[in-house]
């Protein structure tokens, strides 16, 4: 199979999977079987793209507008994001089966079908060869996740889904679309080219304005004040929060930020713009403020959501620092944070399935009943915080070097401070679960873990976070290629 074909199939296989899932409506085992097979097939396709002969490939699906095509390519940052999203989809699919059946959720067919479509969107975003293609898949991702957020169909879900859709559509149509059209008009191309396409074609005064439009237009990156959709999305079932709102959707946002910064603006051009400094400080503010908000949350999922807002801003800040070291750190943080955060969400879901508890203050003493879950939570937390021997340490390392290199002492301080805050809001739940006596006085011995289909995936992702510590070197080598050219 040629790489071009693999790229196309990677987008179409999940869509086909969604159709088959809808057709298998009344046979749950067949339906979940299809989900798993689709996830495996997708991952295999992404691996085929990743380990091909390495030659750059661009393949056109259709010419949407004169001179502007829907096209896919196999650049390294793309492969990285696609591999993370599709690889973790396999684990999440297993987890979903345990979670959705364990909770006896309604409308499971719609759930699995929309999930598959969302993955098609995420992989499409990843492999986009130009900004128009990326925008198309970005909107597919927004719309396909709306039914997932509104899944419960009660008043709460309705409100959350409304905020979700309103912010994501308003930012993308309101800011991203005009910014993109302006680049098309002035630069004559929207292709992602190493080194960027805007230098020498767009006046830096306009470029600076466009940067602000792009950064706020990519609402999925959750820069304040357009971050509210992410906590709102927590009304969704936990597998959705885990894969989509800790990995696929939000990472599609920061991936787009990186892609736009590196391949559309170009880091050198970006450095010249006055607004890159401004957006850097917006990101720094977001990462500190969201951490402080996370500290206040008693609801475990809400705390994790604000933590995600904060971690996303690491990556935006990395892009705005506009040097290779920082951008590399940002790209690696996409992977490292993915493993850490998906583990944390899986744990939150497992706790809910086993005990129906959602508030941290109710979880005292739970560690003795659910040791595997809370051990995994601890590992995930360490990964997000960035403690060796977990993958998170490397991305923070590169990020800090990048900030130090460019002389942004304030950013270095902010990153350090934020790491302390990470410890402050992620470690206490584990400590309380293991060390405090149970609130309800239920000291009965014996394990009460969630179903195996929940516990197995979260153990796998926790181990993944550990493995990433050792895989960082080959990863960063491949990623360096994105600055070549």
């Amino acid at each position: 199979m040629s790489t071009a074909l693999a790229l196309k199939l990677a987008v179409f296989v999940p869509l086909l999977g969604a159709i088959l899932i809808l057709l298998a409506d009344r046979r749950p085992n067949l339906r979940e079987g299809i989900t798993l097979v689709t996830a495996l097939a997708l991952f295999a396709l992404v691996l085929r793209v990743a380990f091909g002969d390495g030659a750059p490939v661009e393949t056109t699906l259709i010419e949407l507008l004169p001179g502007l095509s829907i096209a896919l390519h196999n650049e390294n940052l793309s492969i990285l994001f696609a591999a993370v999203a599709s690889g973790l989809w396999i684990v999440t699919s297993i987890y979903s089966i345990g979670y959705m059946r364990g909770n006896k959720e309604q409308h499971q067919t719609r759930f699995y079908a929309c999930f598959a479509i969302a993955l098609a969107g995420a992989v499409g975003v990843a492999f986009s060869a130009n900004m128009l293609t990326l925008f198309v898949f970005y909107e597919v991702l927004t719309l396909s996740t709306y039914p997932l957020v509104a899944h419960k169909e009660d008043a709460n879900a309705k409100r959350g889904a409304r905020v979700y859709l309103a912010i994501l559509l308003a930012t993308s149509i309101g800011f991203l679309l005009p910014a993109m059209i302006a680049v098309w008009w002035h630069a004559g191309t929207l292709d992602f080219v190493p080194g960027g396409v805007m230098a020498g074609r767009i006046d830096p005064a306009l470029g600076a304005l466009l940067l602000v439009l792009f950064m706020y237009g990519i609402g999925k990156a959750a820069l304040m004040p357009f971050h509210r959709w992410l906590p709102s999305a927590m009304v969704a079932p936990t597998p959705v929060s885990a894969l989509l709102h800790a990995v696929a959707v939000v990472k599609a946002g920061v991936f787009t930020v990186l892609k736009v910064s590196v391949y559309l603006f170009g880091l050198d051009y970006l450095k010249e713009l006055w607004s890159s400094e401004l957006m850097l400080y917006v990101a720094v503010f977001t990462l500190l403020a969201a951490s402080l908000v996370a500290l206040q949350q008693d609801n475990l999922k809400a705390r994790l959501a604000y933590s995600t807002v904060s971690q996303l801003s690491y990556i935006v800040a990395a892009a705005m620092l506009a040097n290779e070291m920082a951008a590399l750190g940002g790209a690696m943080h996409i992977v490292m944070h993915a493993f850490g955060k998906i583990t944390l969400f899986f744990c939150a879901g497992a706790i809910y399935v086993a005990t129906k508890k959602t508030e941290i203050s109710d979880m005292d003493g739970l560690g003795r009943r659910m040791p595997v879950t809370f051990a995994a939570f601890f590992v995930g937390a360490l990964c997000v915080i960035g403690v060796p021997p977990l993958g998170g340490v490397w991305s923070k390392w590169y990020l800090l070097s990048g900030a130090y290199d460019s002389g942004h002492a304030l950013v270095v301080v902010a990153l350090m401070l934020s790491t302390l805050l990470n410890i402050a809001y992620l470690v206490p739940p584990v400590v309380r679960a293991f060390l405090l006596p149970a609130r309800d006085g239920d000291e009965s011995p014996g394990l009460r873990e969630a179903p195996l289909l929940c516990v197995l995936p979260l153990s796998l992702t926790a181990l993944g976070g550990l493995a990433m510590f050792f895989l960082a070197a080959p990863l960063s080598q491949r990623l360096m290629a994105m600055f070549a050219g």
Binding site: I62, E63, L64, L65, P66, F135, V136, E139, V140, L143, P147, A150, E153, A157, K158, A161, R162, L165, A166, L169, A170, I173, G174, L177, P178, I181, A182, W184, W185
Partner: protein
Amino acid sequence: MSQTLALIVVVPMLGAAVAALLPAGRLPWLLATAVSWYMLAAAAMLAGQAMDLGVLSYAMGNWEPPFGIEYRLDPANALLALLISGLAAVVLPFAGRSLASEVPEEKSPYLYGALLLFLCGQMGIAVSGDAFNIFVFLEISSLATYTLIALGRDRRALTASFSYLIMGTVGATFFLIGVGLLYAMTGTLNMADLALRIPEVAASRTVHTAYAFIVVGVCLKLALFPLHLWLPNAYTYAPSAVTALMAATATKVAIYLLIRFIYSVFGADFSFGEMPTVYLLVPLAVVGLLSTSVVAIGQDKIKRMLAYSSVAQIGYMVLGIGMASATGLTAALLHLFNHALMKGALFMALGCIAIRFGTSRLEVFRGLGRRMPWTMAAFVAGGLSLIGVPLTVGFISKWYLVLAAIELGWWPIVAVIIVGSLLAVVYIWRVVEVAYLQTADDMSRCEAPLSLLVPTWVLILANFWFGIDTRLTIGIAERAAAMLSGLTP
């Protein structure tokens, strides 16, 4: 072969007379459907020729133009002819079942007679190259429309029809006065000939007056804010299939007339150099599209909501016309075609609901996501197209409109276009939430019959088809815009 250009108008005219004589029942409908399909085939053939040859011309009664009446087809009206006949060919199969439930059977011969007359008038305006002849067809289609609206089962349809009659007649009269003044100054009614002669007399006050009368008259017909007051009631109370057809074609034909007169009869130099057209059209379009979008949000009847949305969308087209650039004109022509697809589909989805509930009030939408899954899916898809989500036709329209505004450096207008789009999200999603996230007491399935669903979905798929494969629409629109404005995009 060139007779096709005449037959495309003559066949529906004769068909109307025959339909009125047929016995009540299904026969008039069958005839009308057959005629609409003939028109589509003819229009497709003509459009192909017009794209190859540039301009097709047919002299009525063999009187050479500019003395006789000339039928003339270039890329601009080829697009319009395709639109009218295409929409008619989809809506008429839908109309059979839908109108049977809304209009008493004994009226069916006159009903389909009027529908065919309406099509004849619309097509006549599209292909005629003679200004007075256009007035005649304008009246033919308008009279047919008044009848069709009055057939709505709500008695308020009568007042709606009457107020449209008054406004429409004022508009047509203004148009006629303008044409008369032009005739007095130039001695010709042939539009190609007018375009040659007007520059010689352009400085005269008579020509300025003629321009004002024609533009205002046509703007009444196309329901430009604030001349739109007839439209919401007319759309709301007309029978569903009639609304779908009218919303998709009638205002579009008037938009075409505006483009034809501004750009080719008077010429862009006169319209934008000599006359303050930009300052007339652009502010009205902007205020119109924002204010009517806001009004649409507050509507309780979804049919009326979509009617206000139509006025807003007309604002987009007029905005494109007012930009006086090739890209702006391309955007206007594209949106003319694309909006017909989305609004036609949305009104047809409402027709599917009307056949089950007899109304389009918001409360009947409760639980419809599960009760009428295909109908509501069509509504959502049409709504997404209206919002301008990528891969739908709405996105293509928005792209060109924003591009045209950026090209001119009109950033505030970019903001207006975007805000209009976001307001569409609000009014469409209001319906979606009620349909999918609320439940009714009775949750039994009540999907519309296939004879309604299939045509609705044909149009929905067209929304996606022309949103993905844009060669046909953009190709024609760009050529038409280049030809009309004399600029290359």
